[in-house]
């Protein structure tokens, strides 16, 4: 396990001050959880639209899902008004612990208030980690597990917005609802004390950032921030963002399905193409080089259009040729004439052919980067060509191949938008369909762009992680 010499248990007063500050903050936060936070809650809401549509919801513990009511606005109707009933909460249920306990005892219905639960839990986790850091430094062994400091700083930083978001849950992130009974929703002393405690805790623990060689903020944070941004858009502006989300969600799944399916085939084609490009057989070399050269010279969009619109005609011509050639080929020819690719198949086929060509070059370069002597050494130990490739060359080449192949995956994810010109309902096409219905261009495309961003940034991080793992010992 990686360990780094932590701070000294006593020694410099400077170190102690930071730890004292963090400990005091954590203690304040714990005390705050016992005091009242939110003493009023919404038990009932009625949403009226300009037509005669009225939606009524009851909330047993905390208002939840009211934004779904708002998003269910019928076409050509506007939101007229929302009426709510506010009830005061008994003191023992109004504290931080009280709310956490109420949500926990919900059982399966917890799913609806999961975000609220997380918001109440994060500050407690931060207190736990900060407590361990402070405890180990004061009373424990001299060393601190290195991962604790970045974890502690991050959790302490997250504790502050978590508390604020917990408050927003009280009126379901709806500024309209908040405006109705402002005074009732204003948090009590415990909440403010909790905020102050979190801030103190963060101020103390952030002073330890020099004590670790690990980065405090990684690029994973950007993925988190953008995902959170999408979530907040949905919560604060259920109309239209919740509606857009519901509309395009299956598009996200289609995009992912197309990307991962094609990627599997692309790896296989790339391996074969790469091996073909280093083959000593002129025919195999010629075929694979021709494939790479031709496919790389045609835009992906044109290739997709060809496969979708022109390939069926090619099948027809070939089929008729077979039928005309011999009566025995009649059946096969007819089958070829009747052959129609599904949009999904056509999309995967097009992406595989195009990206397989680029991938072939990556694999060729990776395999060529291994000294040819390794092949000779393996051959002179009694392996045949395939065994030597499989057991000696490819395992070494994979380290070189992996980073560019990872980049290809991210590029593929983005280029999969092009399949929306076929009849594939991917994320882009769903976005276009929604826009065609509502003409909300700005909102729709902002939201679609954010969704792609989360997917690509997330996969980039995963690629980076795999790379860092495979790079281990590369210099040996």
């Amino acid at each position: 396990m990686l360990r780094l010499v932590g701070h000294q248990p006593s020694g410099s007063g400077r170190t102690d001050r930071r730890l004292t500050l963090a400990a005091a903050g954590a203690f304040l936060l714990l005390v705050a959880y016992l005091l009242p936070w939110f003493s009023n809650r919404i038990t009932w809401a009625e949403t009226r639209f300009t037509g005669d549509t009225v939606i009524v919801s009851q909330f047993p513990v905390l208002i939840a899902g009211q934004h779904y009511d708002q998003a269910q606005r019928p076409l050509r109707e506007e939101l007229q008004d929302i009426r709510i009933r506010v009830e005061s909460v008994p003191a023992h249920k109004a504290s931080g612990w009280g709310w956490l306990f109420q949500v926990l005892t919900l059982g399966p219905a917890l799913a609806e208030l999961l975000s609220y639960f997380v918001c109440l839990l994060v500050p407690l986790l931060a207190v736990g980690v900060v407590g361990v850091i402070v405890g180990l430094s004061w009373f424990g062994p001299r060393r601190l597990p290195e991962v604790m400091i970045p974890l502690g700083i991050n959790l302490a930083a997250l504790a502050i917005p978590s508390l604020v978001l917990a408050w927003f849950h009280q009126f379901d992130f709806s500024l309209e609802l908040f405006a109705i009974e402002q005074a009732a929703f204003w948090p009590q002393a415990g909440f403010w004390l909790g905020l102050a405690g979190s801030a103190l805790m963060f101020a103390g623990i952030v002073g330890l950032r020099q004590r670790t060689r690990r980065p405090i903020v990684t690029w994973w944070a950007l993925v988190l921030v953008i995902a959170l941004g999408i979530w907040l858009l949905i919560r604060f502006r259920p109309h239209p963002f919740l509606e857009i989300w519901d509309f395009i969600f299956d598009g996200i799944l289609v995009t992912l399905r197309i990307t991962t399916t094609s990627f599997g085939f692309i790896l296989a084609v790339s391996l074969l193409g790469g091996l073909g490009r280093i083959s000593r057989s002129r025919i195999i070399y010629g075929i694979s080089s021709l494939y790479v050269e031709i496919v790389r010279g045609i835009p992906l969009l044109v290739q997709l259009l060809f496969i979708w619109f022109a390939l069926p005609q090619v099948f027809d011509v070939l089929g008729e040729l077979l039928v005309g050639l011999s009566p025995r080929l009649n059946e096969a020819g007819q089958r070829l004439i009747d052959l129609r690719l599904s949009p999904f198949t056509a999309a995967v086929l097009g992406l595989t052919i195009c990206y397989g060509a680029y991938g072939s070059e990556i694999f060729r370069a990776g395999i060529s980067s291994i000294h040819h002597g390794q092949m000779e050494a393996a051959r002179s130990l009694g392996m045949n060509y395939i065994q030597a490739m499989r057991y000696v060359i490819l395992p070494q080449a994979i380290r070189v191949i992996l980073p560019p192949v990872g980049n290809e995956f991210v590029a593929l994810l983005k280029d999969s938008t092009l399949v929306s010109v076929l009849a594939v309902s991917d994320l882009t096409r769903r976005g276009r369909e929604y826009m065609a219905r509502t003409f909300l261009s700005l909102q729709t495309w902002t939201f679609v762009a954010l969704c792609y961003l989360v997917l690509t940034l997330f996969s980039s991080r995963v690629v980076e992680y795999i790379e860092s793992k495979s790079r281990f010992g590369a210099s040996r």
């Binding site: 000294h371 002597g373 390794q374 000779e376 050494a377 051959r379 002179s380 130990l381 009694g382 392996m383 045949n384 065994q387 000696v392 395992p395 070494q396 010992g473 040996r476």
Partner: protein, 253 residues
């Protein structure tokens, strides 16, 4: 006759690397091929071990033609090549590298015995058995490459430039080991640019120049041949191998 090469022609495309060479190796001999860069020494070895196909000519191992035998089967017949530049597997441990050498063999007890023999010949490898191959020094890597070759228990070991890139003191150690391996019954075909060193351990030698054998004879004959001395055993080379200068002067005396 263990190995007989008859009128061997090998070409890389239009380049004719070997233009009809013939030589032979008797059982228990160390035979060396010496020559400059590009003379065709490595090509000869690669053709014997089955990595290259000759255009013309024949290679007979124990009276059986092996020119159509693929590399992996040549190993099973009992010929093992230790490639130029070591080419050990740097991400495997020394022990694993040696196990790879026994790729064609299945009897684990015999493999264990070969391993012990290799460790006896190369005590340094035993010390580093669990180290990664890539962390070894150049000399140790050469030992590992030779040990790995010996793991297939070959009758004929083909050594391609074992002294390449090694310090003189290590070269001497490697050549001592070559002599010891030979004493245990393995015939050796040694390809070297370091002609003085090669001739000091070999029984017989052949001089290769641009794909043809221009001279052959016992090591002593070649060593004393004025042409060889001028072309391959310049005074500088003789100085660097103190061992040979002494024995040469002893021979003169």
């Amino acid at each position: 006759m263990l190995l007989e090469v008859q009128d061997l022609h090998v070409a890389y495309g239009a380049i004719r690397a070997l233009q009809g060479i013939s030589f032979h190796i008797e059982k228990g001999e160390i035979v060396t091929l010496i020559g400059a860069n590009g003379a065709g020494k490595s090509t000869t070895l690669r053709t014997i071990s089955g990595l290259l196909r000759p255009v013309q000519g024949d290679i007979r191992f124990k009276d059986q033609s092996i020119i159509r035998t693929p590399a992996e089967r040549v190993v099973k017949l009992g010929i093992c090549q230790v490639p130029e530049g070591r080419q050990i597997f740097s991400k495997l441990t020394v022990h694993e590298n040696l196990e790879m050498g026994a790729y064609t063999r299945r009897d684990s007890r015999e493999i264990e015995q070969s391993m012990e023999r290799v460790f006896a010949s190369f005590p340094r490898l035993k010390e580093r058995a669990n180290q990664f191959g890539g962390t070894l020094s150049g000399g140790e890597q050469q030992m590992l490459a030779m040990g790995r070759g010996l793991m297939s228990s070959p009758e004929l070991l083909l050594l391609d430039e074992p002294s390449m890139g090694l310090a003189p003191i290590l070269v001497e150690e490697i050549f001592n080991i070559i002599e010891r391996i030979n004493a245990q019954g393995t015939s050796i075909l040694l390809v070297e640019q370091n002609a003085a060193m090669a001739l000091s351990v070999a029984d017989r030698g052949y001089v290769l120049e641009t794909g043809k054998i221009v001279l052959e004879g016992t090591a002593q004959e070649l060593y004393e041949n004025p042409q060889v001395r001028a072309a391959y055993l310049g005074e500088a080379a003789l100085q660097s191998t103190g061992l040979r200068v002494e024995s040469a002067s002893a021979a003169e005396a």
